[in-house]
Amino acid sequence: MTNIASIPYFIPEIVLVVFAVVIILYDLGSKKTGGNGAAYLGLIGLVIAVITALVIGSEDRSLFLGMVRLDSFAMFFKIIISVATAATILFSVRSSELDPETKGEYYALLLAVTLGMYLMASSTHLLMIYLSLETVSLTSYILAGFLTHSPRSSEAAFKYITFGAISSGTMLFGISLLFGMTGTGDIMLISSKLGEMFSQGNVYPLAVLLSITFILAGVGYKIASVPFHMWSPDVYEGAPIPITAFLSVASKAAGFALFLRLFYSGFKSADASIDWSMMLAVVSALTMTVGNLAALPQQNVKRLLAYSSISHGGFLLMGGVLLTSEGLQAILIYLIIYLFMNLGAFFVVILIANEVGSETIDGYRGLVSRAPLIAVSMAIFLFSLTGLPPLAGFAGKWILFAAVIKEQLYWLAVIGLLNSVVALYYYVRIVKAMFLESSDDTESLSFSPGSLVLLLIFVVPTLLLGIYWNPLYELSRASLGKLMG
């Protein structure tokens, strides 16, 4: 589809841009009273973007001369990302970390990063993929360093940039290699080109493997897979908590969208002669093991959740190892569930940081007698992250492992499940502090009704999706669309 004809299908993204600009203008115009106008504008923008996206529908269309694709797969991720962004905006309103004076550009940047993620989910051209990745990265750097008075936050931003620059450079090199071999940047064409080249035998498999590995560096950085994960604990710890929540869910989801599209529709035809699914399996096993083992000794809950989110990245990657439709579906389902339970856990961290002023496990001592509802909700999120039935995390884990075992990767399933035993240990440390230990402070904490309602929005799906998850399965099947060819 030509550029002009594509515009009507690009309205959601345009809405985001417009609202980002409107927020900046509003911020300039309004007196710096610290109101939440910018936040609500951001929410409105997101809602309109999602509504327009739903109205446009998800019929398969190739936009902007093959740069971007509109399909149900992209739609799925756009909604996930929008929900995560909306939650982040609501969290930010409630977080006392952020300086009210700078909130205007903060929300504008959030919409900009959402735009980048929309594009990550729908790009089908290597150039566009690189641009969308950079849009997300650059805005994320600023958001991570947003606590200007905190040296940790600046350190986080700096580390983020350094790692980001290196991995995106590596990725660009991989892209150039691939472009050199196939003569095109369109991943659909690359797929058929690679298939052709492999069937004729006029290709160095090593060269293809190398370029795919380099591209994987860029993607691996976004989903924080080993060995590109080093940035994430420091960034997660230093960034404002709402941004940490955002990075751990939205950024990861967008990274997976990109990864899946690249590998399922782009590189799959190279599968026959290159055993890179083994490489992915090893990366997945390492990622979850490293994440879990590193989480064990953490005292800071934010940092602990950062490592746990690395290990969940490894879990998710397990579904992508064999490029089966079951695996892909499992990833989509797990992402939905992960969205609720992880954001919920981070929201509790925000509430506790506000009220108790602590991010360490010690700050959670005796929480059950001070704020029973919060403590019980946190326990639900943490046990769901562990994957215990009848919580949603178990449904996700179950579907993921069914996909892995179906391909007879028993060793990977065993590693994955043993990891969930390790994970139990560190999640339970928080539960233990909340329920089994008592604190010197015994006055009960009070939270605004709005915060409690927001908390319930995450608790209820975490409970219900564990008991009945058939709709998730149907939804994920529908979202696969034509991705599997």
Partner: protein, 500 residues
């Protein structure tokens, strides 16, 4: 009917949590007691109404739950499960009575207890593998909190150890379960979790599930999952810690029901569904042919010897549980009618007797605030009724003929003798050691000079007697007339893949 029994405690949990105010502790206890009576009434009705001559499952309920994976809500009971459901339902109100003196956060305690009961009853009724697993895991969370919050001084350590061990076992079980599901069909033939269907498929020659190599690996996965729960040596080390730290009522549940979940799983899944795998480990030939019997033997002898060495009353009872579960294992390994009847009977009897023992330990601990066996002496003169009931429980547990413990153990060993002669003879040593530690304890605690510290110790009270009497009656009745229990599961046993 069964759903009612499973979910009434869950409803009760909501009532206790949301309808009763924090100050109304007495009311909360009474309400919980009444709620736990309902499953008991239903269980008694089932026990009476159950058609003993009909094989297969009764009172079945079958509904689609999650279409995408053909997961069904399928419950039903056969003779094997009906006895254990009765045991669970019976221990429910008894444990509520035994928890009467808990003073910290009673509301949360009772709510968790009711959740635990739902998990346990559901587990014994589930006929869908997925449902079975969900209920199996559902017992973990309440148990963790019940030990961790209301337990003794080392409760945190004990609770997390219990949790990690069990989860470790159950993840291996999960892999085996998924593998069985995937092998039960193909992309074109619907796969299933339905346990009766899976049992049929595993017998069908040529079916993927009937493949011996597959069955051996699946057997191992399930076996480790259940072995942690039973517990079978070397997976047993969580048990003494958990028992010692848990409050009395929770120890009762732990020994009475949770351990039975392990052995029940072994019968229901490993024995009935994976006969080839079972054969590999029990046929008495080859390198692995004696494995299960050897493990049973180790449990009996090692558990009994450890019990002999204990000076903590509760730890002694905990290790004796490990020993007694060994009889279940060796009876299962025999794979004949006598062995299995003995094993299943032993499951029920041990549930009753160990519940009594833990309740009795709780009685003396409430008064003396310690459990050091050597720290007592001559209590018989001060607490005659207590001494009498304890003697009954000890005698039942050490296998005195005429009391229930004897029948199960004797049948198990009788069955095992025809297959594993040497091991069976060696295992009887466990009974001798059992007699030794129980009699020695009796002597140290109740006989001899009265320890002057306990001049003022009070006799067992009415509430405590009420918890013990139903169990005491059961041990005597089942000792004299075991066939009321055996009749229940005779048909169920005959349907299992026995080997003569």
């Amino acid at each position: 009917m069964l759903s009612l029994m499973i979910f009434i405690p869950l409803l009760g949990m909501l009532v206790v949590l949301f309808a009763i105010r924090r100050e109304q502790e007495e009311l909360a206890k009474r309400v919980t007691f009444i709620i736990t009576l309902i499953p008991l009434l239903i269980a008694v009705f089932l026990f009476v109404d159950y058609d003993r001559s009909a094989p297969g499952h009764q009172y079945e309920e079958d509904m689609m739950w999650i279409e995408a994976f053909n997961i069904r809500y399928h419950v039903g009971i056969d003779g094997l499960s009906v006895t254990l459901v009765l045991l669970t339902a019976l221990l429910g109100p008894i444990c509520v009575l035994a928890s009467w003196k808990i003073d910290k956060g009673i509301k949360a305690y009772l709510a968790l207890f009711l959740l635990l009961e739902t998990g346990m009853i559901g587990f014994f009724c589930a006929l869908d593998m997925f449902l079975f697993y969900v209920f199996f895991e559902l017992t973990l969370l309440p148990m963790y909190f019940l030990i961790g919050i209301w337990g003794g001084p080392r409760r945190e350590y004990a609770a997390i150890k219990f949790f990690l061990y069990t989860l470790f076992g159950s993840v291996l079980m999960l892999i085996a379960m998924i593998a069985v599901y995937l092998k039960s069909g193909t992309d074109d033939v619907a796969r299933t979790f339905d346990i009766p269907t899976l049992i049929e498929l595993a017998k069908t020659p040529g079916h993927a599930l009937a493949d011996p190599t597959f069955q051996i690996w699946a057997f191992l996965g399930f076996f480790i999952g259940f072995a942690v729960k039973v517990p079978i040596f070397p997976f047993h080390t969580w048990l003494p810690d958990a028992h010692v730290e848990a409050p009395t009522a929770i120890s009762v549940i732990l020994a009475g029901i949770l351990l039975k979940m392990g052995t029940y799983g072994l019968v229901r899944v490993n024995f009935a569904m994976l006969p080839e795998g079972m054969d590999f480990f029990c046929n008495g030939e080859g390198r692995w042919g004696n494995s299960l019997a050897i493990l049973g033997f180790i449990n009996i002898v090692y558990g009994s010897l450890c019990a002999l060495a204990q000076t903590d009353f509760k730890k002694l009872v905990a290790y004796s549980s490990i020993g007694h579960m060994g009889f279940v294992l060796i009876g299962l390994a025999a794979r004949n009618e006598s062995g299995l009847t003995g094993a299943i009977l032993q499951m029920f009897n041990h549930g009753v007797i160990s519940a009594m023992l833990f309740l009795l330990v709780g009685v003396v601990y409430d008064r003396a605030h310690h459990r050091e066996i050597n720290g007592f002496g001559g209590l018989g003169s001060k607490m005659p009724i207590y001494t009498g009931i304890t003697t009954l429980a000890f005698m039942a547990s050490l296998g005195l003929p005429g009391l229930s413990g004897f029948v199960g153990e004797a049948l198990s060993l009788l069955g095992a003798y025809s297959k594993f002669k040497v091991l069976t003879i060696l295992s009887t040593a466990g009974i001798v050691v059992g007699a030794a530690y129980f009699l020695w304890t009796l002597q140290r605690v109740f006989l001899g000079e009265l320890n002057p510290k306990y001049e003022a110790i009070t006799e067992i009270n009415g509430r405590e007697i009420a918890t013990l009497v139903p169990l005491g009656i059961l041990t005597i009745v089942l000792g004299i007339w075991p066939s009321i229990a055996i009749d229940m599961f005779r048909e169920a046993v005959s349907l299992l893949p026995l080997v003569q």
